[in-house]
C-alpha cells in the first residue's frame, strides 16, 4: 500500500511540475491541480496509513491506538477547500486574460 501511494504521489507531482513548466495557461492550471492532488495525498499519508481505524470517537473503543490520526484528515479537508477556491479563481483569471489578450500564452503573447 505504501509503495502504491508513494508512486501515485510521485507520478502526480512529476506530471504537475512538467505541466507547470509548459507555456499554455490551461496546461498550467491542470498542472497546479495535479500538484494539489499530490499534496493532499501526501498530507494524508503523513498521518501514517491505517486500514479500518476510525478518526472520530466511536462507542466502545477506548484505546487511542485503535484510532487513525484525525489531524492530517482535517488538514486535508482545509487544503482541499482552499485549493478548490484558488483553482477556480485562477480559471477565471485565465478566461479573462484569454479574452483580453487573445492569447493563451502565459506571457499574454506568443514568443518568437
Amino acid at each position: 500500500m505504501e509503495l502504491t501511494l508513494a508512486i501515485a504521489i510521485g507520478v502526480l507531482t512529476g506530471s504537475g511540475v512538467w505541466l507547470i513548466l509548459r507555456p499554455r495557461t490551461y496546461q498550467l492550471v491542470i498542472g497546479l491541480s495535479l500538484l494539489s492532488y499530490a499534496v493532499n495525498l501526501f498530507i494524508f499519508a503523513m498521518g501514517r496509513l491505517r486500514v479500518g481505524a476510525a478518526p472520530v470517537l466511536a462507542d466502545g473503543v477506548t484505546n487511542p491506538a485503535d484510532y487513525a490520526d484525525p489531524v492530517p484528515q482535517a488538514l486535508v479537508l482545509t487544503a482541499i477547500v482552499i485549493g478548490f477556491a484558488t483553482t477556480a479563481l485562477l480559471l477565471v483569471v485565465l478566461l479573462v486574460s484569454r479574452g483580453l489578450t487573445g492569447s493563451d500564452h502565459v506571457d499574454g503573447r506568443e514568443s518568437r
Binding site: M46, V71, T78
Partner: protein, 511 residues
C-alpha cells in the same frame, strides 16, 4: 484571558461580510463602513500594543481547547507592533483609495478588509497550519486587489502572481506535512520543544521540512532568487494596493524571524538556526539586485519596485543575524521601510496623474501646477528610502551596520550596504532631477480629472512621509521599545513557558 486578542481577526471578517451583504451597490456606504472599521482597528491595535507593552506573553485559546491540541493566538510585543503598523498603514491607504481608486472596480473595500483579516491573523497565530490558512486568506484577497482596475497588463502580471503563490502554497503544505509527520505537532511552541528532541534518524527529514518552509517565506519576502514576481506585480497593481502590499513582504520577514529565530532558534538542538547560513548571503544579493534595478529603471514606478526589493534585502540582512542587536535594527528598518515604501508608491501615482501623457516615465515633460510640493515630497521620500541623514532610513542602516560590526561577514555586509546605498542615491537623484528640473517646452497638461483637484490623497502620502520624520525624531524611545521586542521575540524559553503554562491553567479551571 483577554478576548481583545481575537478581535483584530474578527473585526475585519465581520466588516467584510457586512460590506458584501448590506452595502454591495452603495459605494458611499462602503467607504463609510470601511473607514470606520479601519479607524476602530487602529484604536484596537493601539490598545493591544499598550497591553503587550508590559512584556507579558498573552495566549488566546480558541474555544478554550488546551494549547497543543487546539489552535491559539499569541500576543507579544512583536505581533502587537506588526498589528499596529498594519492598521496605521491600512488607514492611510484606505483614505487614499476612497478618493477615486476604489471606483475603478467592484468589491475593493470587502477585499481590503479580507486582506487585513489575513494579515492580522498571520501576525497573531501561534500555530503553523493556521499560519497557512491566514496566508491563504491574505493571498486570495490580494489576488482580487491586485487585479483591481483590470486591464491586460494587470491581468498578465496577476496571472503570474497567482501562479507563483499557488506553487508557494503547495510547498507550504508539503513542508507542514513533513514537519507534522516527524514531530506530531502543529503548535509553534510545542514544535520548538519537539525539534530539540527529534530522533537522530529524523533530523534530515525535519531539516528538509524546515528549509522547504523557509523557501515559502523567502518567496513571500521576495528574497533572491525568488524575488522576480515583486517588481512585475507591484508595477502592475494599482497605487493604493501596491502601498498596502508594502506590508505583505514584511509578513515573509516576520515569519522567518518567528520560525527560524524562535522555533528553530539556538536551543533547537540539531536543527538550531537551520536557516541561518542562507539568509545573509541571499539577502545581500537581494539588496544588490534591488540597487542595480533602481539604477536601471526607466519609469518611476519600476524605481519604487526595485527600491522595495532593496529594502527587503537590507531588512533580511538584519534579521539574518538572529541576535538581539540585529533584530532590533531589523524591526526599526521594517517599520521604516513599510512606511517609506508605501509613501513612495502613493507619490509615484500622484506624480503620474499630474504629468499627463508622460505618466511616470523618466523623461522631460511640461511642469505641472504645484510641482514644488510633489518635488519636496519626493525629495524627502528619496532621502528616507536611500538612507541619507537625517531621516529614518539612515538611522535604520546605521543600526544595521553597528549590529554587524562583530560578525564574520562584517566587511562584505558593509560593502554591499554602502555600495547599494550609493547606487540608489544615483538612481533617485537622476529620477528626481529629470522629473522636476528638466521641463520640456510643451503646454501644461490640462487639469481635467477630478482627482487632480483633491488635496486629501496628497495629504495621505505626506502623512506617511511625516511618519518617517517622526520615526527619526523619536528614534531613541522607538529603538528602546523595539530592543525589548527583539529580546522577547528571540526568547524561546519564555515563549514555550507562556504557551505550555496555559495548558496547566486550562486543566486547572476544568475546561
Amino acid at each position: 484571558m483577554s478576548h481583545w486578542i481575537v478581535v483584530p481577526t474578527v473585526l475585519p471578517a465581520l466588516t467584510a461580510a457586512c460590506l458584501v451583504l448590506f452595502a454591495r451597490d452603495n459605494l458611499f456606504l462602503q467607504r463609510v463602513i470601511s473607514v470606520v472599521a479601519t479607524v476602530a482597528l487602529v484604536v484596537l491595535t493601539l490598545g493591544l500594543y499598550r497591553l503587550a507593552d508590559d512584556g507579558e506573553l498573552r495566549v488566546y485559546l480558541l474555544s478554550n481547547w488546551p494549547a497543543p491540541f487546539g489552535i491559539l493566538q499569541v500576543l507579544d510585543r512583536l505581533s502587537a507592533t506588526m498589528l499596529l503598523l498594519t492598521a496605521c498603514l491600512a488607514l492611510v491607504v484606505i483614505v487614499y483609495a476612497i478618493n477615486g481608486w476604489d471606483r475603478r472596480g467592484r468589491h475593493f473595500h470587502p477585499l481590503f478588509q479580507f486582506q487585513l483579516l489575513g494579515l492580522n491573523g498571520a501576525f497573531l497565530t501561534g500555530d503553523f497550519f493556521n499560519l497557512f490558512v491566514f496566508f491563504e486568506v491574505m493571498l486570495i484577497a490580494s489576488y482580487g486587489l491586485m487585479l483591481h482596475g483590470g486591464g491586460p497588463r494587470r491581468l498578465k502580471a496577476g496571472f503570474q502572481y497567482v501562479t507563483i503563490n499557488l506553487i508557494g502554497s503547495t510547498l507550504f503544505l508539503i513542508a507542514v506535512g513533513i514537519i507534522y509527520a516527524v514531530t506530531g505537532t502543529l503548535n509553534m511552541a510545542d514544535l520548538a520543544v519537539k525539534a530539540s528532541q527529534v530522533a537522530t534518524g529524523d533530523v534530515a527529514l525535519l531539516r528538509t521540512g524546515a528549509l522547504l518552509l523557509f523557501m515559502v517565506f523567502a518567496l513571500k519576502a521576495a528574497m533572491v532568487p525568488l524575488h522576480w514576481w515583486l517588481p512585475t506585480t507591484y508595477a502592475a497593481a494599482s497605487a493604493p494596493v501596491a502601498a498596502l502590499f508594502a506590508i505583505m513582504t514584511k509578513v515573509g520577514a516576520y515569519c522567518i524571524l518567528r520560525m527560524y529565530g524562535l522555533v528553530f532558534g539556538p536551543d533547537a538542538g540539531p536543527l538550531a538556526l537551520v536557516a541561518e547560513p542562507w539568509v545573509i548571503p541571499a539577502a545581500m544579493v537581494t539588496l544588490a539586485i534591488g540597487a542595480i534595478g533602481v539604477l536601471a529603471s526607466r519609469r518611476l514606478l519600476d524605481l519604487a519596485c526595485f527600491a522595495a526589493v532593496a529594502s527587503m534585502g537590507t531588512l533580511l540582512i538584519a534579521i539574518g543575524l538572529f541576535d538581539e542587536v540585529g533584530v532590533t535594527a531589523a524591526l526599526y528598518y521594517l517599520v521604516h521601510s513599510t512606511v517609506a515604501g508605501a509613501a513612495l508608491f502613493l507619490l509615484v501615482d500622484l506624480i503620474a496623474i499630474r504629468r499627463g501623457k508622460a505618466r511616470d516615465t523618466l523623461s522631460a515633460a511640461a511642469p505641472f501646477p504645484r510641482d514644488y510640493v510633489y518635488g519636496a515630497l519626493f525629495f524627502l521620500a528619496a532621502i528616507a528610502t536611500v538612507g541619507l541623514p537625517p531621516l529614518s532610513g539612515f538611522l535604520g542602516k546605521l543600526l544595521l551596520l553597528d549590529a554587524t560590526m562583530t560578525t564574520p561577514h562584517a566587511a562584505a555586509i558593509w560593502t554591499v550596504v554602502l555600495g547599494s546605498s550609493f547606487l540608489m542615491l544615483v538612481g533617485f537623484s537622476r529620477a528626481g532631477s529629470v522629473l522636476f528640473w528638466k521641463s520640456a517646452a510643451q503646454p501644461a497638461p490640462a487639469a481635467q480629472e477630478d482627482v487632480r483637484r483633491r488635496a486629501v490623497p496628497t495629504l495621505a502620502a505626506a502623512t506617511l512621509i511625516g511618519a518617517t520624520v517622526l520615526l527619526s525624531v523619536l528614534a531613541a524611545p522607538v529603538s528602546r521599545a523595539l530592543g525589548e521586542t527583539a529580546h522577547q521575540a528571540l526568547d524561546t524559553r519564555g515563549y514555550v513557558e507562556a504557551v505550555i503554562g496555559t495548558i496547566k491553567t486550562a486543566s486547572v479551571t476544568g475546561l
